[in-house]
Each structure stands twice: as C-alpha cells, then as structure tokens.
C-alpha cells in the first residue's frame, strides 16, 4: 500500500475543516438570506454584520444544560446526533474539489480519497444518514419525535430510489462510477445538465428531500410536530443535528455540482490553464489553474446552497401522503423514463440531440395521453 504523504493528510484535513466551517457559516447565510428575502436585515449585533453569530450559537449550545428525558433510551439518545453528524461528514471524502496540485514534482488530487465507486459511496452514506434521525427520534420517547423520525425514514427511502435511478442515467453517459471521472468528462461547459435536464430536476428534488429541506421538511415541520425528531434535544446534541443538516446541504450541493454542473470545470478553462501556464510556468500555472477551478466549484456549491435556502423561504411544505405520491408515482416513473431516454440517446450516437428528441417525444406522448390518465375531478 502506498504510504500516505503529508500533502494528502493536509488536503484531507483541509477538506474536513472547510466542510465544518462552511456548515457553520451556512447557518449564518440561512439567517441572512431569510432576512433579505423577507425584507429584513438579519443578524447584525454579534460582531460586524453579525458574522460571529454562528460562534455565539455554538458557544451557547455547548454551555447549555444537557437534558436527558427520563424515559429515553440513554445510549441511542446520545448516539442519534453523533450518527447524524458522522454520516454527514463522511460523504465529503470522495468529492473531487479540484483538479490536482503539483508539489515537489508529484501530482496530488484535491480530493479526500479517489475510489472507483465514489458515486456509490455517496449514495450509500446518504442512505445511512437517516439512521441518526430515526434513532434519535425513537430514543426520545416522544410521540412528536417518533412521528418526525418515521416521516424522515419513509421519505428518505422513497426518494433514494428516484435519486438512484437519476444517478444511473448519469453513470450510463459517463461509463464510470468514479466522481472524478464523471467530473472530468464534463470538461469545459460540456455539462451533464444539458444532456439530462429532466434527470437534473429529479435529482434536485430528491436532494431536497434527502436533506429534509422545505418543501420536504416534514420530519421537523415546526407547526405540525413542534420540532420533529429533535424535539427533546437540547444543547450540543441539538447543535449536532442542526449542523448535520447544514453539512448535508453543503455536501449535496457539491454532489449536484459534480454530477450535473461539471464540478471544477468551467467554460474557457483550457484557455485559462494555458495562459496561466504561460505566465507563471508549468507547475505554478497548473496549481493556480486548479485554484481557479476550485473557485468555480465553490461558486456552484454556494449557488446551490442559496437555492436550497431560496426555495425554503418560498414554498409551503407537502403533506406526508403527497410527499409519498410525488416520490413513488411521480419521480420514480420519471426517473425510469429518463433512464430509457438516456440509454436510447446514448445508443443513437448523438447523446445531446437524441436526448432532447427523446424528451420531446416523451412530453408529446404524455400530453396526448394526459386526458386518458386524468383521475376523477377532485375539485369542484
């Protein structure tokens, strides 16, 4: 086995701390975005522009009394938030944040670990994310928590299917399970979203559901279940749950950017690379270009994080059965259709045109068949 070099360790640690930092500051962004959307100004007392707000929250929660409900399952009650945080952190390991750095003549990938099943890893860990909520909600011995936990579990399982099928369509075009390979195929502006717009929409919807964000935030829907699965949690255990949610959001945004928006690719990257190499020399130029790519990647991530928040403060949430209906009767068939279209387009030799023709055919057939499938009018 190749021994880990110090550079790799540094990269891994950087990724770890950057994820944590971003997740912490997402809470601040959430507050500011919410405030701005609602014609308010948001936090501005804690430090300049309220920038220390996440720190204040974290400190407060660390020093808040730790409650253990009398009838709670002690071990699981503690395990729940830990598990949620742990699974949320694991995913960022396989995300290729940037191209590569050349240090001392050796090339290092800006990525935790490069495995050839990266996308499956992401998928597997996301599937595990629900345990934290499920266990915590059950262990609290509170009906509202249990309802929240059950809602979380069922929605996660349901939306994983559609998500998986959307990913399969991506795998078909990229012919690899490695996230890095998928990203590298979308060189320049050759992004997957142009090939599979429908797949992107499906994936995005499922991502919202997997992160439990509005309109799919049923597990903690404030006005129905008080605080859902974390009703009984106080202090840093609550903090871990909230933190895990934001971490998930960050990772999910990163995954969306990788799968559909070319990760660290951006239009004109070859030109930038060539110019930088010309200006600063082979090694330095390449490294700077990597950092530019990193910047592009983070721009995309932040856009999606913003999108998450933007949608959250706009739409109402679903009801439990509607959520299930959308997942099982809407997204899964669509994902299958998407898979078929992608496969056909792939075989046709021209994925882009074939994809759009397939989509158009599907839409036409759907609209034509619509009057037949229409259920009995529910409204007056």
């Amino acid at each position: 086995m190749e021994s880990l070099s110090i550079v790799n360790v540094i990269i891994v640690l950087t990724i770890f701390f950057v994820s944590l930092g971003i997740a912490a500051y997402e809470t601040y962004f959430e507050r500011v975005v919410a405030a701005y959307i609602q014609d308010r100004v948001g936090p501005d007392y804690a430090g300049p522009y309220g920038l220390l707000q996440p720190l204040a929250d974290a400190f407060k929660m660390f020093f808040k009394e730790d409650f253990m409900p009398a009838k709670a399952d002690k071990l699981l009650f503690v395990m729940g938030p830990g598990l949620a945080l742990f699974t949320a952190l694991l995913t960022s390991a396989v995300i290729p944040f940037g191209d590569s750095l050349i240090i001392g003549g050796k090339e290092y990938l800006v990525q935790g670990i490069e495995v050839n099943i990266g996308i499956l890893w992401v998928f597997g860990i996301v599937a595990l994310g629900v345990y934290g909520i499920l266990i915590g909600g059950w262990a609290s011995n509170n009906k509202y928590s249990l309802y929240g936990a059950i809602r979380a579990a069922s929605s996660n399982i349901s939306y994983e299917l559609a998500m998986g099928m959307a990913i399969i369509a991506i795998i078909m075009t990229s012919e690899s399970l490695s996230v890095r390979a998928i990203v590298e195929q979308q060189h320049g502006i050759n992004w997957n979203v142009f090939y599979q717009p429908m797949g992107f929409l499906i994936f995005l919807t499922c991502a919202f559901a997997e992160c439990n964000r509005t309109p799919f935030d049923l597990p903690e829907s404030e006005n129905e279940l008080v605080a859902g699965y974390h009703t009984e949690y106080s202090s840093m255990k609550l903090g871990s749950y909230l933190f895990a949610e934001y971490l998930n959001m960050f990772v999910t945004s990163a995954v969306i950017s990788c799968l559909y928006f070319g990760g660290f690719n951006y239009p004109g990257m070859d030109w930038v690379h060539a110019t930088l190499v010309g200006l600063a020399g082979e090694t330095a130029g390449h490294n700077i270009a990597t950092f530019v790519g990193l910047g592009a990647f983070f721009t995309k991530i932040f856009f999606f994080i913003f999108l998450f928040m933007w949608v959250r403060w706009t739409v109402p949430r679903f009801r439990y059965d509607q959520l299930m209906n959308l997942g099982w009767k809407g997204l899964i068939p669509l994902a299958v259709v998407n898979m078929v279209i992608t496969a056909a387009a792939q075989l046709s030799g021209s994925p882009l045109i074939g994809g759009y023709i397939g989509l158009a055919i599907f839409l036409i057939v759907f609209v034509l068949l619509w009057p037949l499938t229409k259920p009995k009018s529910r409204m007056l």
């Binding site: 699981l76 099943i117 499956l120 998928f123 599937a127 249990l146 069922s154 994983e160």
Partner: protein
C-alpha cells in the same frame, strides 16, 4: 504472533466486531437494539469485503441492507412498539431448545465443511487486482451470466408486483 500486518489487524478487529454485532443481535432484549447490532454486523461485513478488494460488493451491501432493508425493519419495529412481555415470549424454553438444535446442526455442518475445504495461498504473481472491481464484475454478469441475471431480474419483478398486490387495499378504502 505479534507481527501481524496491518491487514491482519484490520481483519481480526473486524472479525471481533462482526461476532460482537451478531451476538448482540440475538441477545439484546430490545428489538431496536437488535436491529442496530445487525447493522453493525453488516458494516463490518462490508469492511471485510473491502479487505478482499470487493469494493462494489461492500458498497452495495451497505446501500441495500444497511441503507434500505434495515431502515424498513427499524421503521416497522418502531411502529409495533413491542412491549416487554412480548419480547419475553421469545425466551420460552421451547424457543431455546429449538435454537440450540438449529445452532448445533449448523455448527456440525460448518465443522464438516472446514475439514473438507482446501486453502490455497494467493500467488502474488498471478493475482489480478481488478478481480473484485466493478468493471470485471459487470463483464462477468453481462457476458457470461446474462441469462441467469435476467431471470433473476424477472423473478424480482414478479416478487415486486406480488408485494404491491398484497399490500394494496381493497377499493374504497383510503389509500394511506
């Protein structure tokens, strides 16, 4: 004895974890704890797969078993809200006797198997590191074993349809 390589260390630790999880599954009183132990077992099994360079199998094991099936299990058990009494019914004498008979039989079979089995050390010269990888797996499945693979998929489809049929309620009932 103490000069185990890191792989061996990992193997022994995982083996202990697996056994611990398995025992926990059958010994814990609380069904929820049982399920969680089972998940631990699956995880350590997946880690074993990774040790054997079968990454795909490992991840699929996690996705399918730990990620989906066990969640459903947990889900159902939480709904059932099994009480202490019902859990204790599993501890009746007849259950214990049946369990020991089954366990003993399996033990005998295992012993018989291990007496027969021949272990060969891997020859590093002919070792193909890609053998457990997804690419070769895919080629095997879709070239050599395409017919069984498709048959299995039909079987699954039939099972799925059957499950839906069983699960669906009669007409007129509320749909959830």
């Amino acid at each position: 004895m103490f000069s185990l390589s890191s792989i061996q260390w990992a193997f022994y630790i995982l083996a202990i974890l697996t056994l611990f999880g398995g025992l926990g599954t059958i010994m814990s009183k609380n069904p929820i704890h049982s399920v969680l132990y089972l998940i631990l077992t699956f995880f350590s099994l997946s880690a074993h797969y990774i040790l054997m360079n079968a990454q795909f199998l490992a991840v699929v094991n996690i996705i399918v078993y730990a990620g989906a099936i066990m969640v459903l299990f947990l889900f159902v058990i939480m709904f059932l809200n099994m009480k202490e009494q019902e859990a204790n019914e599993l501890k009746k004498n007849s259950t214990i006797i049946a369990a020991s008979i089954v366990g003993g039989t399996i033990g005998i079979i295992l012993v018989a198997m291990f007496r027969q089995v021949q272990t060969q050390p891997t020859n590093p010269n002919f070792y193909d590191s890609q053998i457990g990888m997804i690419e070769s797996l895919g080629k095997f499945l879709y070239k050599d074993y395409i017919l069984p693979f498709e048959l299995v998929s039909i079987l699954f489809l039939v099972a799925m349809v059957g499950a839906v049929m069983l699960g669906s309620k009669a007409k007129g009932e509320r749909d959830f």
